[in-house]
Symmetry: none
Subunit: 123 residues, 2 copies
């Protein structure tokens, strides 16, 4: 299939697909005239890439993990990177929980001040 069909079947923009190729994440056969042609497997490939992006993994890291798909082997190194990323996501969640508490205390204080009739200085 050509790039437009792959875009339609994956829900990813044509520009994004060209970007994936630019980053080395996706390959294509070229016709005489230079147009990209893909096999059906490209659909799964793109979906995998999207899944990794959805997990907040950068292009560079995805590129590093792709040999897992290409060779069919998940190296310990890739597993380590995945676990590291998982830890960082957990940390982000914990940070946001702290932020939420901070916001809540600010809101609570603000509500109290507001109820007591103390105005806020104009910004």
């Amino acid at each position: 299939m050509r790039i437009g069909e792959l875009a339609e079947r994956t829900g990813v923009s044509v520009r994004a697909l060209r970007y994936y190729e630019e980053q080395g994440l996706l390959t294509s056969e070229r016709s005489e005239s230079g147009q990209r042609h893909y096999s059906d497997k490209a659909v799964d490939r793109v979906r995998l890439i999207q899944q990794l992006y959805a997990a907040g993994i950068s292009s560079a890291s995805i590129l590093e993990m792709l040999p897992c798909v290409v060779t069919g082997e998940a190296s310990p190194h890739v597993l380590t990177k995945l676990h590291e990323h998982r830890s960082s996501v957990v940390r982000q969640i914990e940070d946001l929980r702290g932020t939420l508490q901070q916001l809540d205390s600010v809101i609570a204080g603000a509500v109290k001040a507001h109820e007591s009739g103390v105005p806020c200085p104009p910004a």
Copy 2:
């Protein structure tokens, strides 16, 4: 203290502190020669700014709510904004939870492939 000391005490770069001032988030006294001087309270101020940034709140919004947050007083408008940001933080946490699930499914697939010597899952 001068800007270098404030940077050291808060762990924020000198450039960032000047940026905060540029955005109207932080003020300073100027010496004859134009150098910035800060009181001890600036340390807390910078930390508060960092917390709000960590909550994904933009400079413009921080500028709008900072006076109220500092004094613990808030107009209904600022209260509304605070609640909006609280919702956005909750959403961010939910998104990250989804990210964790994505990661776990990728990790599970990778582990399985690694243990069985079977190719990585197609998606």
